[in-house]
């Protein structure tokens, strides 16, 4: 594993053991990443069953005291043991709306920057083909969102680290006052500003190469999945058209059969099969939406990957800046001590022009600088440790994520193939039936 090369010369590496920052959950992490299987034993998902079982339209007043309509989702939790014992204990349940899910996720993002945090289903319907509504209140959209939110909760609960978070647990179990509790943690203040992150991305000199590669990968993944989703929506649109036009055969065969004697029956019944064919596309495409949703999840996961890379870049940049700062202070100190001016400085010039400092003044400055240098060295040490810890734990989670991704996407592709096979079989059935009707003409 490479170390970030920004470690300034002479900095001691004596601090090996990581002093974890409180609240990041690093202290709870088990060493030696890898086998996620053993960690799963501890996962919340093994202890409780989580479902988002219902969605309901609500009206209420928003922050500006204006009436608004929104959808609330019912989260039900049930202890797993109670199931296996054969008892059907009633689940605990509470209602949450989408914005609360967003709040939860943002909290997790800030507090677990080294984790690839599962994404939420999309806020607004995108990549729709024309028959799908882009309206957030549309029942099909709400239904798919319900499933997406459930999936999100299960993913979080299945993650060995974040499932242990108290705020998450409260989200599932504490109806009132949860929002206040989250805000009281002051996590928003800890969040890195976007501008700072952007700055770091451009200016960082020696990020870990794996993260750079990962960043490129997640950019390309986003791009390719977006493209795929866009084209898939167009494909769905066209396929819909093909099937629906066949419905017109139904009507004209019926009209034609009216003027025929022997051919009439065959035509009429064939026409009926054409209607069946035209109608079948609705279910087919609805099923395909689930596939699209699976792809979308990984589209958004790419963004989560990106976030981890950004955090690394930020930390690395921070480290580099601190090292640079320390180096320049040391140099200043040296200059003052030896009286030589290595680099041009305004102060140096002005003091030359307006008179030299007194030895006491110089001593004072040196002392201040030495203090600062000492502080800086301590800070640099801890930043180094932090950085290395971050890289280690982030990379563990990234490996876990890769496994998950490969498995999930393989399954998604298999399901897609199965859907196609089913569609082909239905097509064969319908046309075989129609052919038989035609043969009786």
């Amino acid at each position: 594993m490479e170390r970030p090369e920004a470690e300034p010369l002479g900095a001691s590496d004596s601090c090996q053991a990581g002093e974890a920052e409180p609240g990041t959950g690093l202290a709870e992490e088990e060493p030696g990443g890898g086998a996620a299987g053993t960690m799963m034993e501890d996962c919340l998902s093994k202890k409780i069953e989580i479902t988002v079982s219902e969605a309901e339209k609500r009206t209420g007043r928003n922050a500006m005291n204006m009436q608004e309509t929104y959808t609330a989702y019912l989260i039900e939790t049930r202890a797993v043991e109670s199931q296996t014992e054969g008892q059907c204990s009633p689940p605990d349940s509470l209602w949450r709306r989408y914005s609360e899910f967003e709040l939860l996720r943002n909290y997790l993002l800030v507090n677990y920057p080294h984790i690839v945090v599962p994404p939420l289903p999309e806020k607004r319907a995108e990549f729709v083909w024309h028959k799908l509504s882009a309206d957030n209140m549309d029942p099909d959209f709400v239904e798919r969102r319900r499933i997406g939110l459930e999936n999100f909760l299960i993913r979080v609960a299945s993650h060995p680290i974040i499932c242990q978070n108290k705020i998450f647990y409260s989200f599932l179990t504490q109806e009132g006052g949860w929002k206040e509790m989250v805000n009281e943690t002051g996590f928003q203040l800890k969040a890195d500003s976007r501008l700072k992150a952007l700055n770091a991305t451009f200016r960082v000199k020696n990020p870990d190469k794996r993260f750079t590669e990962l960043k490129h990968y997640s950019d390309e993944l986003q791009s390719v999945i977006s493209h795929l989703l866009r084209v898939r929506a167009r494909v769905a649109d066209r396929l819909y058209g093909v099937y629906k036009v066949h419905g017109n055969y139904g009507r004209v065969f019926s009209e034609w059969s009216a003027i025929e004697k022997e051919m009439g029956d065959g035509l009429q019944s064939a026409g009926h099969h054409m209607d069946v064919y035209a109608a079948s596309i609705d279910d087919i495409l609805e099923e395909e939406e689930h596939y699209a949703d699976q792809l979308k999840e990984y589209l958004f996961y790419a963004e989560a990957l990106r976030a981890v890379c950004r955090k690394h870049e930020l930390m690395q940049y921070d480290l580099e800046m601190a090292a640079q700062d320390l180096a320049s202070k040391k140099q200043q100190c040296e200059e003052l001590a030896t009286g030589t001016l290595r680099t041009f400085s305004l102060k140096g010039m002005t003091s030359k022009l307006f008179g030299q400092e007194t030895p006491e003044q110089r001593e004072g400055k040196i002392k201040v600088l030495e203090e600062q240098i000492h502080e800086g060295e301590e800070q640099l040490k801890s930043k180094n440790v932090e950085g290395r810890e971050f890289v280690k734990s982030a990379w563990t989670d990234i490996e876990r994520f890769k496994e998950q991704k490969n498995q999930d996407l393989k399954e998604a592709l298999i399901n897609y193939a199965v859907m196609q096979i089913s569609m082909c079989k239905k097509g064969i059935q319908v046309w075989t039936n129609a052919k038989e009707c035609f043969s009786k003409m």
């Binding site: 990968y217 390309e220 993944l221 390719v224 999945i225 493209h227 795929l228 084209v231 898939r232 167009r234 494909v235 649109d237 066209r238 396929l239 058209g241 093909v242 036009v245 066949h246 017109n248 055969y249 004209v252 009209e255 034609w256 003027i259 022997e262 051919m263 065959g266 064939a270 490969n406 996407l409 393989k410 592709l413 298999i414 897609y416 193939a417 199965v418 196609q420 096979i421 082909c424 079989k425 097509g427 064969i428 046309w431 075989t432 129609a434 052919k435 035609f438 043969s439 003409m441």
Partner: protein, 422 residues
């Protein structure tokens, strides 16, 4: 594809009352007759014993024609194949080989092979319409092709045309009256058709002339029910076919647009596969699979364009020409009624109906008989043709789905493949 033919002779041309048939099967006729005007020989070259012009009563001796001819009773087989391009200084055109095999006495040889171009078919059809105005003449594929829109020399276009021309000649060859037409005979046999054409231009067939109806604007009193029914039927039939044609065209258009999107869709999986390690093969597999589906879809829409649409259009043309024949029939009847009325108004002593009016009556009844017989043939053929056409359409769709099914089923094992097993 030639059926084994047997030494059986059919006198097809005249009603059974004049010439009893030989051969294994006794064939019967539903009142086919010729428009006989006393002194003239029939245009088809068949020598006929012209006893008294068939009066209405004898013509009414109808016997049913067994139209379900199988290979045993056929004695004339015609095929159109082998299209060839001819490049001359003045023009470029296609000729087709027309092969005939027959045992009929009207042909000097048992086999013929000649080359004909579309013009020649067109000429034949016009001649048939002229000389057999009481019969339904099968349609030809459309004559004019917009240059620039369709490539007249493309394989698909030529093949579509060849099939239609083949059908055209087969329909004539199967027709108990038309197949004995002199022009048809010459078309099938003459080495130099152009010479015959020029000869024919000079003198119009007398039969044709006599049968050219005076469209004196005679008004029809009452159309016999059966012909009114046929007329109504054809009107609706043509409409429905038109609708089906439009639907089929629309489906092809939608399928092609679907194909365009699929062609972009497949490769994206491939691109994605390039980014991945473990997923590379599965993604590549899906990409290839979609490619196979594209090929299958293209084949489907090509088939529909080449095989389905032309036959539909042919039937629309057929129906239109039938309606024309019905109109002619109406005219003949109207003329007869007008003349009859004129005679009645004269209130002369003569109880006997003048010969001219009797001629008209004969014409009417012959026309009706021919037309009715042809209509029945047409209905039967139509039924078979459409059964075949629609079953063919269903078949092509089944084949399309079967190809896609195979493609998707074959990648399931690839997708399920665990990395350890590799």
């Amino acid at each position: 594809m030639f059926f084994p033919w047997q030494q059986c002779f059919l006198s097809v041309a005249v009603p059974i009352i004049l010439f009893p048939p030989h051969g294994k099967r006794s064939t019967k006729f539903s009142g086919y007759c010729h428009v006989q005007i006393q002194d003239l020989s029939l245009p088809n070259g068949t020598p006929v014993d012209t006893s008294s012009p068939a009066s209405s009563s004898s013509l009414l001796n109808r016997l049913q024609l067994d139209d379900d001819l199988d290979g045993e009773t056929r004695d004339l087989f015609v095929t159109v194949d082998d299209p060839k391009k001819h490049i001359c200084t003045m023009e470029t055109y296609i000729t087709y080989r027309v092969t005939t095999k027959t045992t009929r006495a009207e042909f000097d040889l048992p086999e013929y092979s000649v080359r004909r171009r579309y013009q020649d078919f067109d000429w034949l059809r016009n001649k048939l319409e002229e000389s057999q105005p009481t019969h339904l003449i099968p349609p030809l594929p459309e004559k004019f092709v917009m240059k620039g829109v369709v490539d007249r020399f493309s394989e698909e276009f030529v093949e579509t045309r060849r099939k239609a021309l083949d059908k055209f000649l087969k329909r004539i060859a199967d027709h108990p009256v038309l197949s004995f037409n002199e022009h048809f005979n010459v078309f099938l046999t003459a080495k130099d058709l152009n010479a015959y054409k020029k000869q024919g231009m000079a003198l119009l067939s007398k039969m044709g002339e006599s049968v050219k109806y005076v469209t004196g604007g005679y008004k029809l009193r009452s159309r016999p029910l059966e012909f009114a029914a046929i007329g109504d039927y054809l009107d609706t039939f043509v409409l429905k076919l038109g609708t089906i044609d439009r639907i089929a065209q629309r489906i092809i258009k939608e399928e092609l647009e679907y194909l365009v999107e699929l062609r972009e869709y497949g490769p994206v999986y491939s691109t994605w596969g390039g980014l991945e390690v473990e997923l590379a093969e599965p993604l590549e597999g899906v990409s290839a699979c979609i490619g196979n589906c594209c090929t299958a879809l293209e084949e489907l829409s090509d088939d529909m364009t080449e095989d389905f649409l032309p036959v539909l259009r042919e039937y629309i043309l057929y129906s239109e020409s039938m309606k024309n024949v019905l109109k002619k029939r109406d005219q003949v009847q109207a003329e007869y009624e007008a003349k009859l009325e004129a005679v009645a108004l004269k209130k002369e002593d003569r109880p006997k109906v003048p010969a001219e009016v009797e001629k008209c009556q004969d014409r009417v009844e012959c026309f009706n008989a021919d037309l009715k017989a042809d209509m029945e043939r047409w209905q039967n053929n139509k039924r078979q043709d459409f059964r075949q056409l629609l079953m063919g359409m269903a078949d092509k769709n089944i084949q399309y789905y079967e190809k896609c099914l195979m493609a998707w089923e074959s990648i399931i094992p690839l997708l399920q493949d665990k990395p350890e097993t590799k």
